[in-house]
Structure formats: C-alpha cells, structure tokens
C-alpha cells in the first residue's frame, strides 16, 4: 500500500478516534432543553398572577361547602379525604378547597373566630397572618407537582400565594371584622392525618366578603 494512503488512513483513524471521544456537537432532546430553560426562567409571581386572577376565581364556585365537608369527615374520614381532599404524593395531610358563611364570634390581634352553621363542635378560625403551608396551592388542586422540573419552583408558588393572601385578603378581613358581623369566605384548609377532626380548623382565605 502506498505510504501516502497509509498516512491518510492513519490521519482519518486518529481524527475519528478524537471525534468519538470529544464530539464537536452533542444532540440534546428539545424537551430537555425546554425544561432547563423553563426551570431557569421560573417566575412564581407571574404564575401566581394568572392563578390568582383567573383560575382561582373560577375554582371558587367549585369549593365544597364547609358543613358538607365536616359531615363527611365525621362519618368516614378516609372516604371524605378521597372525595373532597387532595393528598400530595404519599403525604398524610389532606388539603381541601372550601367555602363557608357564618357569624363572627371573636376577634383579637391574631385571628377571627367564626360560628358556621353545621360546623358542630369544630371551631372555624382565620388567622391574620403570617400565612404558612400549602392550603390554597394543594386544596385548589390547580397545580400538579409533576409538572414542575423541581420542587423548589413548586414550593415557591405556595410562598407567593401566601404572600398574596397576606397582602390582598387579610387586610380587608382585619378592617371589617367585628363580633356578630356575618362573613363569607372561600379558601383552603389542611387537615393532618388521623381519624379525629382537629378542634379548630384554620382556613387560609382566597376570598373574604361581608355580605
């Protein structure tokens, strides 16, 4: 074989070897790239903007009346959780999206207590803040953790939702709340695992009205 051809073959072989180990480009799936871009650009304020003004407003009409939920929970907690609640993964806590109406029986610097017809022995309260937890995010069932590239983004939604509750809902409640006044509310509530209803249910309100 002529020496020049051998050199060419050697050169091609070496180049092929180098390109195999260090390719000039790499094929990446479009979906993977889009996910990375979305994760990098995640803006919880923008997501909650849409959620707050459109989706939660629409969902408000579908909230379960609180007396109906409490009756179901007393009769069969597991069935009530399956019918009305939402559990995140293997969580023991169920979140519910509820509506109610009642008479304010107490107000102090921290919370308002409401007597809701049909609530029985369970006390209903709304704290003036600060708001923690995932009652609205999970209770409304409008977002799915599996749609998020990472749980940091998913959790950032709760932080932003809770901030909205503190800045846009609770001030009106604090201004208008007085004993014997009727108040209507829609919001989320989290109930820990167990067959016993807590003595007090704390509602995290999305909407509060004084009819």
């Amino acid at each position: 074989m002529p020496r020049r051809i051998v050199h060419w073959l050697i050169g091609i072989a070496i180049a092929a070897g180098i390109l195999t180990v260090m390719p000039l480009f790499r094929v990446v799936s479009l979906e993977a790239t889009q996910q990375q871009a979305v994760a990098a650009a995640f803006d919880p304020v923008a997501v909650v903007d849409a959620l707050w003004t459109d989706e939660l407003r629409e969902a408000a009409g579908a909230a379960v009346p609180l007396p109906e939920l409490l009756t179901a929970l007393r009769a069969d907690p597991a069935a009530a959780a399956a019918n009305y609640g939402r559990r995140l993964g293997l969580s023991g806590t169920s979140a519910y999206w509820v509506s109610g109406r009642g008479v304010i029986t107490g107000v102090d610097g921290k919370a308002v207590e409401i007597a809701v017809d049909g609530a029985g022995d369970t006390r209903i309260a709304i704290r003036f803040g600060p708001v923690f937890g995932n009652a609205i995010r999970d209770g409304s069932a409008l977002v799915d953790v599996s749609d998020f590239a990472n749980t940091r983004d998913f959790n950032a939604l709760s932080v932003e939702i809770n901030r909205r509750v503190e800045s846009e809902v609770l001030p009106a409640l604090a201004d208008g709340a007085s004993v014997d006044r009727v108040v209507a509310f829609t919001g989320g509530v989290e109930i820990p695992q167990g067959d016993t209803l807590p003595a007090t249910l704390e509602i995290v309100p999305y909407r509060v009205e004084f009819p």
Binding site: V6, A32, L88, F132
Partner: protein, 326 residues
Amino acid sequence: MSLERITRRGLVLFLAAGLALGGCSGDDATGSDAADEGPKRVAVVISTLNNPWFVVLAETARDRALELGYEATIFDSQNDPAKESSHYDNIIASGYSAILFNPTDADGSVANVRRAADAGIPVFCMDREINATDAAVSQIISDNYSGAVAVGRYFVEAVGESGKYVELLGLVGDNNTWNRSTGFHSVVDRYEGLEMVAQQSADFDRARALDVLESVLQANPDIDAVFAGNDAMAMGAYQALVAAGKADDVKVFGFDGADDVVRLIAEGKIAATAMQFPKVMARTAAESADAYLGGKRDFEQKMPVAVELVTSDNVGNYGDFGRRQD
C-alpha cells in the same frame, strides 16, 4: 519493525476497538438475554454511605428488591458525581434491569438518568430529585419544604421571636438543601428579632459540622440556636456545643429523623427534627421498579412523601427511621 507494519497493526487495533465499542453501544439485547437467564438485577445507587440515614435507604431498597425476587447491588457514589457516572457506565454495560437512585446532584445527575433511559433501564429516584421530569420513570421524594416549614414554626415557638442562630446547610448542589433552607426561612425570616449570625455549608457531614460550628462559636459565642439541614450535621453541632460547654444553652434543630437524634430529643438534648421516611421511600421505589418491569407504565413523575415534626411532645411515636408502627 517497519512503519507500515506498525500502522497496519494500529489500524487493525483501532478497527477492533471500534467494533468492540459498537458492540457495547448495541448490547442491550445481549444484556437482556444475559439477565433473562437468571434473576433480574437491580442496582441501588446511593449518593453516600457515609451517613447512617442513607445506609438505611440503600439497605431497605436492596432488601425489598431481594424480597421481590431480584438480585440487588448497592453502589456508593461517595458524594462524587464522577463516581456516580462511572457506576452508571458499569450498570448500563452489565445489563441491569432497573436502577433505584439517590442522586448526588439535581442537575448533574440528569445526564446519567438519561443515559440509562436511552439504554432501556428505568430509573426511580429516592429521597432526592433530579431537575427533569422526562428522564426518570418516577421520583419518590421527601416533601422537604413542608417539613422545614414545620421545623421553622416550632423553632419560633421554642426559641421565641428574638435571638441569634446559626444555619448549617447541606450540599449546595442538592435541591433538598434549599427546600429545607427556604422552608425554614419562609417562617423564621418573618420575625425581625431572629438574627442569623452565620450560614455555612457542612455538606450534610457530621465531622464538617463539628468543625464549622466550633469555628462559628469563636466569633459568635452567644448564639441561642442552630438549625442543621440534616441530623448528621445536628449531631456534629451538638458535639461542638458539648465541647464548648454550651449544650444546655443552645437549642439544636435537625432534619431526617435519624435514630441518634430521636434518642437525644427523648433525652431533652436536641429540640426537634423532621422525620423523613427512608424505608417508605426505598420500599416504594423498589415496588415501583417491580411494577414497571411487570408492565405498568402510568407512574406519577414526582411523588412527595410527607415529613413529620418530631419534638419532645411526640417523640415516643417515632423510631427506627419512621413511625413506630411502620
């Protein structure tokens, strides 16, 4: 030996190597055939075994896979993404049927999971997630954020609304580190009187936490509390406080539910931890892999597992890395 003979040999070797590489890249069928001859094999890839909590996660996953009729092998990544990648090379080349995976890095581990998926090996993440929803079959992960919110609320209750504290972070590339930190701060930062005088990473490691806190105490001898992002670091912090004679004055809060911390909570020496459920997660991952290999395909991509606050009030309900009845 002439140059021509050398280059001929070189060419032959190169072509042989190429054929061998080609054989490797197309050896799925070979690997499967080999696996079909005996019990299918499941790989358990763990970020580190230098922490009892992860040992429980690994051994429970392995043992459940064995119970389900698989051969199972544990691979220790030693918190090193390069080692983890090397494990994946071996696992893919060896024709394993499934991987139960505890990643070292939420971003960096994604490529490994994709390589396994491309080779037809399903991956099930345990405890820690990866930053992708199209690579693993399912991710069974601790709901760290909610657990840390619970720890934060108890922290305010136990320490009060004013005081100085130190935060020990875990691995900075791990989402769990930040889910715990942001969950904790989403509560504690609402109280202006609570001042964080230092925030340092100790890599989820007990010995590093001991060193870090000893150093922090020199500059800040008057702290009231320590929030550690896992129980190994909580133990290291407690050890530093004992050595400094401050264990009775400084409240330590951990995260994980490790047996030694649960015991110290019962003895009143550590304030609280957040119980994760490594056995639940490991068993669920192994059972999911078994269901997948049996033909099931509809899995939740992310499956958070609740994390529960453990304090002196309820510590009797917990032990052995879970609830007593687990």
